[in-house]
Symmetry: C2
Subunit: 131 residues, 2 copies
DNA sequence: GTTCGTGCAAACGGTTTGCAACAAT
DNA sequence: ATTGTTGCAAACCGTTTGCACGAAC
């Protein structure tokens, strides 16, 4: 795993214990945590941290491109340490969100899209994970 | 446009003025309205309608498959009269959401996805609409 | 000493829920 | 009479904001 401290510095974000804890949790979590997931986890190692700080940090990190927000749950954003392009699969039964590598899906945008300048493209798949 | 009254009956939803107004607005709106957009509009023709009724109706219609909820805006769901499969393009400057016909994008899910049983697949594109 | 980060609490916006009145069957 | 629908208000949940304290340069 890339060092959180180093990443913060590289992005011009002053490292603080809170920010390190937030980033480290998102980096190590395979799920796509909500702000509250982050809050709960960070609270364990840093029991005085406030929700405001967690939200501030998440917004700051997203702004700086350290993490990415995703619109994949009905209630609220989730956060993703993978900032490179990739897709998502959502298990409709468990609600779990899985990353899908970019190369696993081939997309070809055909005609009828000439009126759009596509800057970002993402595939969202839903279904159930095979046993 | 398909008759709202008929659609409600076909889906076993008892037609009421409120429900008709909600469905008709969603059907005729080319944008993807939020619950509040629906509320504001329906209020004009039916000034006593309550937010609760609008939300109840939207949830009911979505449950019955008359409309579809989409997770495309940071704050809250949007509603779509198009229940057949299609994609979306979001203009990052205006926030406008455009429907993209299913055939306009070709998707090929390759290997590495065998562990997922894909029941639904949707492409979300972002960028800016060409002038 | 000024700037930046934190923590608290209050506010906010979208959505849901409990409930009483009121149709509709 | 029973069931389903409405409207109101309050609650709820995720998120943002205002502000005062404290730390860092």
């Amino acid at each position: 795993m890339t060092k959180a401290l180093q990443i913060l510095r590289e992005h011009g974000v002053q490292p603080t214990p809170q920010r390190l804890a937030v980033l480290e949790f998102i980096q190590k979590s395979q799920t796509h945590p909500s702000a509250d997931d982050v809050y709960s986890s960070v609270r364990r190692t840093c029991p005085t941290v406030s929700r405001a700080t967690v939200y501030n940090t998440l917004n700051l990190l997203a702004e700086k491109g350290v993490i990415k927000t995703q619109l994949l749950r009905e209630r609220g954003l989730v956060f993703d340490a993978h900032v490179h392009r990739h897709h998502h699969f959502i298990d409709e039964e468990t609600g779990q969100i899985h990353d899908v590598p970019w190369e696993a899906v081939q997309i070809h945008a055909g005609d009828g899209l000439s009126k759009f300048e596509i800057r970002e493209i993402q595939v969202v798949m839903r279904g159930k994970r095979r046993p």
